[in-house]
């Protein structure tokens, strides 16, 4: 059943040039769209009466082994009513800063998924209200782990990684939202307030 999903033709009719190309791999239809048109295309796919992709299965990114190929951000869409699947991809050039529109206003489930792609690949999702690391701690300074140029065991030596983990000062464990709540109630110790005012949350010593 490697037939191309009808959504591709509808997308081309609707968006024309911004739908770059499409492909079929192992029975799934893949549509490549221009990075600028991401939010508009996905909003249309969600709200259009005969598309109705109301279920966002997954948001992820793929970094290929040869560095010239751009980094791909992938949205897996599914229409529960029509029992149809569609994989929407966009390619981001690695030389420019990686940024793409957030779809949090379309699907609430994208919140943590986008934060994880930001944490692992460094793709900034514009419009995401609370974009910070989710799997690594927020002041993690070794870069983006799932990039192919990131070594398996990390850049720093094991001793340095242990030292950074053990000596991080207390506010590194809290997000800025909680620190503001504590600050609003005057619960922050004085030395922590000075460090936070300077904006320095990394590990000391």
């Amino acid at each position: 059943m490697s037939a191309v999903s009808p959504s591709v033709a509808a997308l081309r009719a609707r968006f024309g040039g911004r739908v770059l190309r499409h492909a079929v791999s192992c029975g799934d239809t893949i549509v490549y769209i221009a990075p600028g048109a991401v939010h508009e295309v996905l909003a249309w796919l969600k709200d259009d009466p005969d598309q109705r992709f109301d279920y966002l299965t997954d948001v992820t990114a793929v970094d290929y082994r040869d560095q010239e190929r751009p980094l791909e951000v992938v949205w897996q869409l599914r229409s529960l009513a029509r029992k149809a699947d569609l994989r929407v991809k966009t390619e981001l050039d690695k030389r420019q800063p990686l940024a793409v529109a957030s779809v949090l206003d379309l699907w609430k489930g994208a919140d943590w998924l986008e934060r994880e792609v930001f944490d692992m690949f460094g793709v900034t999702f514009e419009g995401h209200p609370d974009l910070r690391r989710i799997l690594m701690w927020e002041t993690y300074a070794e870069g983006y782990p799932l990039r192919k140029d990131f070594p398996l065991r990390g850049h720093f030596s094991r001793a340095e990684q242990t030292r950074q983990a053990l000596t991080a000062n207390p506010e590194a464990h809290y997000s800025l939202e909680e620190l503001s709540i504590a600050a609003a109630y005057g619960d922050l110790p004085v030395d922590m307030q000075e460090r936070l005012a300077r904006g320095d949350r990394g590990s000391v010593k």
């Binding site: 701690w137 001793a159 340095e160 053990l166």
Partner: protein
């Protein structure tokens, strides 16, 4: 009644009394009491925690060894059982919990991942919790069968029965060194060196 910090430092010096009949009898009684009522602090993170729950359940009953009472707060805990892998984000947590446990305290590193990083020779995994806290018994296995864990607990009980009051450095608090590490940096790097087939893991293609 706030406990104040004695200026003499971490531990009070035990009087250097030569071991005679009285002290050894005292040792035997207190060690018997300690060994047979170890209250575990189940620091359960991953798969080994499920095997730990299975060994605490009715079939492999830990209560037969006096470990009926799981104490989830370090204040009443005797033995910290690190059941599962320990990422760097969790290292300060286990270090703080270990420091907050009153003496006498022991540590069991359950499973290959806790003892040596296991198959996770990655950027985020502590390669063995003995680089963070002093460990008394290492239980091999992934996950160790409940019988394996119980054998490890029996080894710990044998070790406790061999201890003595007069051994001064047994119960002193081993705090972090001034540079924030538990072991010297080169010792940690040497221990965390990849070995076995994880050496071949560098070839990504």
């Amino acid at each position: 009644m706030g406990l104040t910090l004695p200026e003499g430092g971490a531990g009070t010096e035990v009087s250097t009394l030569s071991p005679n009949w009285v002290t050894t009898r005292l040792d035997v009684i207190s060690n018997w009491g300690r060994a047979n009522s170890l209250w575990p602090m189940p620091f359960g993170t991953a798969c080994c925690a499920i095997e730990f729950m299975a060994s605490a359940a009715s079939r492999f009953d830990l209560a037969r060894f006096g470990m009926e009472r799981m104490s989830f707060s370090p204040r009443q805990a005797d033995v910290l059982i690190c059941a599962g892998r320990l990422p760097f984000k969790l290292a300060p947590v286990i270090r703080k919990i270990w420091d907050q446990m009153p003496q006498p305290k022991w540590a069991i590193s359950m499973g290959a991942c806790a003892s040596s990083g296991g198959i996770f020779d990655t950027y985020t995994m502590v390669q063995g919790i003995d680089t963070i806290i002093p460990v008394d018994v290492y239980v091999p296995g992934c996950p160790p069968r409940p019988e394996g864990l119980i054998y490890g607990i029996q080894l710990l009980q044998k070790k406790i029965k061999g201890e003595s009051f007069l051994d001064a450095d047994l119960r002193t608090e081993q705090l972090l060194r001034p540079d924030g590490l538990f072991l010297p940096a080169e010792r940690i790097d040497e221990v965390s060196e990849p070995f076995g087939n994880s050496v071949h893991q560098t070839r990504s293609a």
